[in-house]
């Protein structure tokens, strides 16, 4: 069955299926969302106005038996950065959508009334139903209510109170394996884009769905086996390996020891108290309190980096990821996993991106709103958002907005988006990625931590300032992984095991009937990023936007007391004039 695109016009509530244009046939995930946004969204539009669109696209192999491939990309123009945005999440929602034969959902138009709608999609019909009753209600309660009303085995996507407040820090929440709202396409404020179209939820039921067509099953199976073998062989991704045993928070100690785990709004790079929130500590507590590890974000994942974390009272809080533990913890001077767990739950319930939310709390503390380390105070800030107070309306717009509101000069953002859990003064390749990715500060856009800290995909000295080529290559390959629908963590295995990478390409060939090779990856990635950079250029971005905040070149970071000294020439070498209107 040919795949199709579902177009949802929220202004007149027309719903239509369209054939997939030839240009989109070989795209999926990020490659497809970015291409549709570039084709259909005026780059200079107001992100919350009628001309922006929100695009959902499962990856090329998502919905098949390809391992660790349950990713969905969400794209649009970001209200946080003002540029193009793609954020992705691992969730069964992605697989269900793909199995229904839906290559993308395009949500467009802006209704005049203030109510909210729920889009229901199944194998027989698609309809919009009223969802206004869930306005102002937390997502945990809403997801439980939706499952009660429509069935447990649903893919659910939704936006929370933060999005209803038009917050530039509002994510798009997807269901986890328990049906709870803990899997986020969090970055860039796409939740507000969805809410501004009057869309509150999308429900996907894949009962009786035809599944994903595979053009060449033999090639696909061969690729699937190669990639599965690589994932179960590599020390980082294998059963009993680092991710499977300790989750993503296993990074807390190594980044802290490296002197690059930002503390108290990026004022220091390590603190011995960080060990209290490490993956090792969390693993001990899970064993002591109960919970679950390993755990998966979506069916068919061979890595299993997730967990079910329980609080002191034995109540399930959900997964605490490395980025969330850091942003809601050490970056705010908080070193208590239970407080972090509560803050994380609040973010999921309100519909906030945890990286942006933690940075926002940290700059608010730096600006004197609360003291660093004030655990109750941090929770009170969450309540300000829930109540929609004037302070809450500042906080919900993210780190840059909040920092400027309170006169903070140390604001760790690029293109308006807050930095993840690696200080670029201590790890300069990731800083090069933060500066140059079209997405705003985003570690997942080109994960230089792999060669700089982990020795995966080669070895690179984190303090060396010559990182243009490495960042470029990582960004190209990442754009392709995000297009296939594989989790970025598959990169740990395929960067070191060539057969794994071959397998990933063969899976794609099997699904699409193409004859791509590993050598094509760089050109495909380059093409995706060129499209994204062209959009940003037309939205007004220049190379001056590919920079880190000034203070990171001037204020040294203890304990290594280094500054970010990657030259502007080196940053400009990452992409040259790619997508900026001149030949590259």
């Amino acid at each position: 069955m040919a795949r199709k695109i579902l177009r949802v016009n929220m202004e007149d509530e027309t719903l239509s299926y369209e054939e997939v244009p030839e240009d989109y046939r070989y795209l999926g995930g990020r490659g497809l969302t970015s291409q549709i946004v570039a084709d259909e969204v005026p780059p200079n539009c107001n992100p919350l106005g009628p001309n922006n669109k929100l695009v959902f696209a499962p990856g090329i192999v998502t919905g098949t038996s390809a391992p660790t491939s349950g990713r969905i990309s969400v794209g649009g123009k970001s209200p946080l950065t003002g540029g193009i945005k793609e954020a992705n999440a691992g969730t069964s929602f992605a697989q269900k959508l793909a199995r229904l034969g839906i290559k993308a959902i395009i949500v467009e138009g802006k209704p005049e009334n203030k109510g909210y709608r729920c889009l229901k999609v199944d194998d027989n019909e698609v309809e919009l139903v009223d969802a206004s009753e869930w306005s102002g209600i937390g997502l945990y309660e809403a997801y439980e209510g939706l499952r009660g009303e429509y069935g447990d085995d649903l893919g659910i996507c939704g936006v929370g109170i933060a999005a209803e407040l038009s917050g530039s820090n509002s994510g798009v929440a997807f269901n986890d394996m328990e049906g709870k709202p803990s899997r986020y396409a969090g970055r860039g404020g796409l939740g507000a884009v969805m809410a501004s179209r009057g869309l509150k939820f999308v429900l996907v039921d894949d009962s009786g769905a035809p599944g994903v067509d595979i053009e060449d099953k033999e090639v696909f199976d061969q690729g699937r086996k190669k990639l599965s073998d690589a994932l179960t062989e590599h020390d980082v991704t294998k059963p009993g390996g680092a991710l499977n045993s300790y989750g993503t928070s296993v990074l807390v100690n190594i980044i802290n020891e490296s002197g690059a785990l930002p503390q108290e709004n990026f004022s220091r790079g390590s603190d011995e108290k960080s060990a209290r929130v490490s993956g090792e500590k969390k693993a001990d507590l899970i064993e002591e309190r109960g919970g679950e590890r390993p755990h998966r974000c979506s069916p068919g994942c061979l890595i299993g980096c997730s967990e079910v974390w329980k609080n002191e009272d034995g109540e399930e809080v959900g997964v605490l990821e490395y980025e969330s533990v850091w942003s809601l913890g050490p970056d705010s001077g908080i070193y208590d996993l239970d407080t972090i767990g509560e803050l994380n739950w609040q973010c999921n319930d309100l519909g906030l991106d945890t990286i942006e939310a933690g940075n926002t709390i940290a700059v608010a503390m730096d600006g004197g709103v609360k003291e660093f380390g004030d655990e109750e105070g941090a929770l009170e800030l969450m309540d300000e958002i829930r109540q929609g107070t004037p302070l809450g309306r500042i906080l919900v717009n993210g780190t840059k907005f909040t920092g400027e509101a309170f006169g903070v000069t140390r604001i760790p953002t690029v293109k308006g988006q807050a930095m993840p859990a690696y200080d670029p003064r201590g790890i300069k390749g990731i800083g090069t990625t933060y500066a140059t990715t079209p997405m705003g500060a985003d570690h997942t856009a080109g994960y230089a931590i792999a060669p700089e800290i982990m020795g995966v995909g080669g070895d690179a000295d984190p303090l060396s300032p010559e990182k243009a080529e490495m960042s470029r290559n990582l960004q190209y390959s990442t754009a392709v992984i995000d297009t296939t629908g594989h989790c970025l963590f598959t990169a740990f295995a395929v960067l070191d095991i060539p057969e794994g990478l071959e397998g990933m390409v063969e899976e794609v060939n099997g699904v699409l009937g193409t004859d791509l090779t590993v050598d094509d990856i760089s050109d495909i990635g380059k093409s995706i990023i060129e499209t994204e950079r062209r959009f940003n250029s037309e939205a007004g971005f220049t190379k001056e936007d590919d920079r880190l905040p000034e203070y990171m070149r001037e204020e040294s970071l203890p304990p290594h007391n280094d500054v970010f000294d990657v030259s502007e020439e080196e940053l400009d070498k990452v992409f040259g004039s790619l997508g900026m209107g001149e030949s590259s």
Partner: protein
């Protein structure tokens, strides 16, 4: 007299050693790691590759001295002073 160096273990190395830290007398990183693998039999073969004429650090294993990876210092020849604090990690990933 050789220097007493504090050594910290992380992730699966901590579990296998049954200790989160120890102290070892050594002048270089290589000597320290040799002594560690003799002291903790459960770590033997997990940190150093001993197949060739000279031992090498195993792929994916990270050894830091005061926060600097020895791969970007002098490797196993990196000298230790009394201020040195050593951290040893198995292959790790995340994000």
């Amino acid at each position: 007299m050789k220097t007493q160096i504090e050594v910290k273990f992380f992730a699966s190395f901590r579990d296998k050693a049954g200790d989160s830290s120890t102290k070892v007398e050594a002048d270089t990183a290589g000597e320290l790691l040799e002594k560690i693998t003799r002291k903790y039999k459960s770590l033997d073969g997990m940190i150093l590759e001993k197949g060739g004429s000279e031992p090498e650090l195993k792929s994916g294993v990270t050894v830091m001295i005061n926060g600097r990876n020895i791969r970007f210092l002098e490797g196993l020849e990196t000298e230790l002073d009394s201020e040195a604090s050593v951290a040893i990690f198995p292959p790790i990933g995340g994000g």
